[in-house]
Symmetry: C2
Subunit: 276 residues, 2 copies
């Protein structure tokens, strides 16, 4: 999906909501079979119910991998379930030397040599350019590079100051924007530190920002919009648990749709600033 | 496996060789079926032939993931093939926020709730302590944290100087050694910059160092030993392609064994310094 198509989708749906799919057996509604079949039904129902509201879905590979070989199959089934006119992110946070990075890029963008439905993969910057470039080599595909993450541990290294006066995450933004363009490179920047999110936006004014941390992690949508949403700077706001587990009962799908709808209503008030 | 057991194994085999298993269909000897069954036979033969020389094996998840669902099964079959008295590293370079990191740790250390054969997982430090601690929570298991990697891109961020005068990789070593101990935390430090490998060793004198980059990547065993092997500071030297693809013919297993044996002969000359 191109940047224009993604922005067009946001305009069409009046939304910049990304729904995160983190399947957790411990949180599966008790009405469903407590196995990967149950998870499949659950995720399928969630995707179906939230499609009117979500412009993007994000599959978190950690939760699928924890389910063993059945989880791997589930991941690929769910990737096939996500409507083709929504943006699909594999949240894998991969990062390895060149020849391994090529394999990871192929695993997500061209498994068994066939082009996949995955539009973007999240990638860690720690190992530098040759760990990222293989992902950027796929035409029409995106790399979502970690810059400033939403978790507590972001302070350990991302918020360390370099001897040039920049935070490490700022150095990542400035260095990595030379590796790709706003058409194939987006940055992950968390919602939990709005004042720093604003610095992210000022350093990469045109790149799409994938913003996790709204909801259970404590970030707020208005803060994110004020800090990062501009006429030329789109954001994708990811909400995972708050939508997925909006209800622990049989009405989980309706509850997820209601939660997604309420986010989208709130987003509407901010969308007018977007140049689209 | 405990630190003492790992050092005992090095002493017993007179070796600190780790053989990296990166299955690549493009490099599979032509005598074998050109599919995952062929890869299975290839890796099985390589492991069998090199067991007298290797104290550890490292499975590179990238190469398995690129094979799709069949690769996932292959990974678990190969993990089952590696002799139980060798150290087994899953080179996955994972790193995500706490609840996702818990899932990754479970995926490798306790898939489907059962303890696994995997002794260690490689983890990226970029997201900080809460992305690493879930791996360290498994008794008897190890976290191999990326510090200074062997690739060119290491210069982009790992070799940036902080305002406290330290390189980022030094900050990672100093910060992360508080998260674990030499009994459950090792560091990945590449062979390709021996002068910096020496700095790594001086900052973490007792931690096991997992050293990639010898062989195809250009690092040399004597340089690694002089820089990082001390009486109380063990190293695991990983060699992947140079052993795996020592011959492209039908004698691939014997050729791999010969290459592994020649490394081990060389290692013997350095092992006398180890306090074990």
């Amino acid at each position: 999906m191109t940047r224009e198509e993604l922005i067009g989708l946001m305009r069409h749906k009046r939304s910049f909501l990304c729904v995160g799919l983190d399947p957790d057996l411990r949180r599966l509604p008790p009405q469903l079979p407590q196995n990967t079949e149950g998870l499949h039904r659950f995720l399928h129902d969630i995707v179906l119910a939230t499609t009117p509201y979500a412009v993007a879905y994000k599959v978190n590979t950690a939760f699928f991998e924890a389910l063993g070989p059945a989880g791997f199959s589930l991941l690929h089934e769910i990737i096939g379930t996500v409507p083709s006119d929504t943006f699909l992110i594999a949240d894998a946070k991969r990062g390895d030397i060149g020849n391994s990075a090529e394999q990871y890029a192929a695993a997500f963008f061209a498994p068994s040599g066939r082009p996949s439905r995955v539009d973007a993969v999240t990638v860690s910057p720690y190992m530098g350019h040759d760990s990222v470039m293989p992902f950027l080599a796929y035409p029409g595909k995106w790399t979502a590079l970690l810059a400033l993450t939403s978790n507590e541990g972001a302070v350990d290294f991302q918020l360390k100051k370099l001897d040039n006066g920049r935070y490490l995450f700022e150095e990542v933004l400035l260095t990595a924007q030379k590796w790709g363009s706003p058409d194939n490179l987006m940055f992950v920047a968390g919602a939990t530190r709005p004042e720093l999110l604003q610095r992210v936006r000022s350093l990469v004014p045109r790149h799409v920002l994938l913003v996790p941390g709204v909801g259970v992690q404590g970030g707020s949508l208005p803060d994110v919009c004020r800090a990062a949403l501009t006429a030329d700077g789109p954001v994708l706001v990811n909400v995972s648990r708050q939508v997925l587990y909006a209800s622990s009962g049989a009405n989980y799908a309706e509850a997820a749709a209601r939660m997604a709808a309420s986010y989208v209503r709130e987003m509407n008030g901010y969308l007018s600033v977007v140049n689209a």
